[in-house]
């Protein structure tokens, strides 16, 4: 079920009608949440519910096993990881592996030609698998006590606002919250509402209106030969993906607020980052912190010398790229970020640039430009397309006036400029929303949000799925 669909609005209406009745008693609340979440997920394809159930039951019993049989803790952890990564591997990466084996064999002159499995990718598998794994890993580390109630566990794992596209909420944050559900306060309802409306605005007005222009550029048989055009397109894509994903996260957080719960902030103006390290504390925070806590730090983090630190950065970022999609272009995207993070460690360039006059602006522009280059790999359908686009982006002399005129005629450039201004304001430490909140009274804030809601209806772009569903 998509958040931006009539089905979901009806589903949510029904859920919210029954929620006050169901929330009072623990078991009733958890079972209700699980049932609602399964309906939400099963609306897409009920057959894939068995995967969530399998993944969840495995981790639930592994968690209990770790507590009861402490000598076998490691075995249970390995079992959980194998089960989760195995499922993910089969459904997400099997065809990628088969394709690569075929290519490799053919390189050595062996024609094996293994057939592709052609399995459908279950929506949100990467999100709930990682969420489930965090549960067993935290129990193994002793930072979390396992729950003894399977409904409590599934209420955490399958909670519908964040089930298919995050944020990846840790068990130690959400399980305790789920132990109670007091009536929501006016503040929670209002904050939830505001997050939902702003999330929808980001998704349906900004991301969905930028999407066709970006798609047109990448679907063209021959890429348009103009550097400015492609820089503009990549800027549009950068805001499309940002607003698409952060919009979803905002809606999820708002829905959680309406139930009386809190999800972590997942995006914090990533494009005003002054270094790549900062970028990863602002972009998809729940995923980057997951990789930091469950991959980078266990590998040794920065504690085992410089060479090891770089190695750990590379492993983490390559895995992060691979998490996003089963294609070499995603791995290249991860590699580019790893390279930038390594370069930062070696040269300490952010500090040097920041010491220059206007250094903050330079650093932000530099990081943003490099992030755009990374997005080329992320968005391109193949390496050859990414190569072509990058070649055009850096062949500055090929500026085609007509194509620029055409691009401007789409006026999506206007959206882009608005978004850039918004980020600049944030970079200057002025959060427009906060500014409005501080300087307007109790009536103006809701009135402005009401206007945003109307903008969502009348200015919405051609509907499309959330980009991060595919991951």
């Amino acid at each position: 079920m998509l958040f931006n669909s009539l089905d979901f609005i009806l589903f949510l209406g029904a859920f919210l009608v029954f929620w006050p009745l169901m929330r009072r008693e623990n078991n009733r609340r958890w079972i209700f949440l699980v049932c609602a979440s399964f309906v939400f997920y099963g609306w897409w394809d009920w057959r894939f519910l068995f995967l969530i159930v399998f993944s969840g039951l495995l981790d639930f019993y592994c968690g209990l096993g770790m507590e009861r049989f402490s000598r076998w803790r490691k075995t249970f952890l390995i079992l959980s990881i194998i089960g989760n990564l195995g499922t993910l591997g089969i459904f997400k990466y099997l065809d990628f592996g088969i394709g690569n084996v075929n290519a490799l064999m053919s390189f050595f002159g062996i024609d094996v030609n293994l057939p592709a499995a052609g399995l459908m990718l279950p929506i949100g598998i990467s999100f709930y698998t990682f969420q489930s794994m965090s549960y067993t890993i935290d129990i193994y580390r002793g930072s979390l006590k396992p729950t003894r109630n399977v409904a409590h566990f599934f209420a955490y794992l399958a909670m519908f606002p964040q089930l298919v596209a995050g944020p990846i909420v840790r068990a130690k944050d959400l399980l305790p919250q789920l132990m109670s559900a007091s009536p929501t306060t006016e503040k929670q309802r209002w904050e939830g509402f505001r997050l939902i409306i702003h999330g929808f605005f980001k998704k349906v007005v900004i991301a969905d209106n930028l999407a066709p222009i970006v798609a047109m550029a990448f679907n063209a048989e021959t890429p348009a030969a103009s550097s400015i055009y492609w820089w503009c397109i990549m800027m549009m894509f950068s805001f499309q993906i940002y607003c698409d994903f952060s919009g979803y996260s905002d809606i999820a957080r708002g829905l959680a607020n309406w139930m009386g719960y809190e999800f972590p902030v997942n995006f914090n103006h990533p494009y005003i980052s002054k270094s790549f390290q900062e970028f990863w504390t602002r972009w998809h925070i729940s995923l980057s912190s997951w990789f930091r806590d469950y991959v980078y730090i266990p590998l040794g983090g920065s504690r085992k010398g410089k060479a090891s630190t770089h190695m750990n950065i590379w492993v983490t970022m390559l895995l992060s790229g691979f998490w996003h999609g089963a294609a070499w272009t995603f791995i290249a995207w991860g590699a580019l970020h790893a390279a930038m993070l390594s370069l930062e460690k070696v040269s300490n360039w952010p500090k040097r640039i920041l010491s220059l006059p206007g250094g903050k602006v330079l650093a932000v522009l530099f990081v943003y430009a490099l992030v755009l280059i990374g997005w080329v790999f992320f968005r391109a359908q193949s390496f050859s397309q990414a190569g072509e686009v990058l070649t055009i982006m850096f062949s500055f002399q090929s500026v085609d006036g007509n194509i620029i005129k055409e691009l401007v005629s789409y006026k999506c450039v206007a959206i882009l400029l608005i978004m850039i201004c918004r980020e600049i304001y944030c970079g200057l430490g002025v959060d427009v929303t906060d500014l409005i909140d501080r300087h307007t009274g109790r009536v103006y804030q809701p009135a402005l949000t009401g206007m945003v809601l109307i903008l969502c209806i009348y200015l919405r772009g051609p509907g499309s799925e959330f980009i991060y569903f595919q991951f």
């Binding site: 209002w190 509402f193 005629s409 789409y410 999506c412 804030q445 809701p446 009135a447 200015l459 051609p462």
Partner: protein, 324 residues
Amino acid sequence: MMKPLEEIVKPSLLKRLLKERMAISLFVAALLFIQVGLFRTDIVGMNKHDYAIGKMKWKACADMVFAGDSRVQECLSPEAMTAFFPDRQLRNYAFYGTSYHPKYYDAIESVLDPESKHPAVLLGITPNSLTPRNFKINGLKMEMDKYESLTPAVKHIGVPTSLLPMTPSVFLQNLVGKDASEYYRQVHADGWVSVVKPIVPTYSLDEYRRAFTDNYYDDDIVEALLTRVKTWTRKGIAVYGFRPPTTPAMVELESKMSGFEEEHFRQLFETAGGKWIEVDPFGYLSYDGSHLHRDGAIEFSKDIAQKITEWEVATISGNTPENF
């Protein structure tokens, strides 16, 4: 012990709602929604709802009325013909799915101004408008029923603010420009509907093939039409007939499946007192193989106005042309 008064008296619902910022927000959104809905245009031009309601309210306002089904509705632009008839009021009174039905004749006549010096009716004859299935559907009645059955609340608030026509095209037209200009349907206050769509010459063929399955040109409907032509002619109303231009494939399909013979019909029509206008059957741009594209319609409207003017001049001078 009695409770203090403030504990017993609960704040009113209104007061409680005013404390809910979410409720205020939704209230503002609802007001804006109604406001925007009532005043929004259908991409360009007038509101579709106003168009339909306005058209059905026309009474005694036209010197020349164009009648027929969707092909006529989309192929005749009164505005494009104004230059030929500067002192006359022209109205396109065609409707989607309309057949030549007694009630439609009455409605056409009611639109004509009884004081007009040059009352005229221009009938677009398509085989589909002379078939029993269309006769049963009765497009005019369907349009009227659609609005008359609505409650005032739905009619005045629900329809104009409906989410259905709220396509992204409004945004595309204003912001993206290019895409919208390649696809839109604009309604005009004079009754014309201009359509700009990508040209797909075979698009409508299947639909018409289905429409003509077990549904043929009907002699009784034609007989009733000819009787009305005679009546109007007797009353001094000039009656013109023409077959709306389309594509060769459509003409072939219509002739084969409906049994309509243009030459035979023309003879009957002229015998009844009507004037048949020869048009270039395939000389105008059609977007779907049936209906005319905006550009084709403007060109056709001018051509047909030219022919009527020539006829009128010839009639006044007493030299009625053989082939009109």
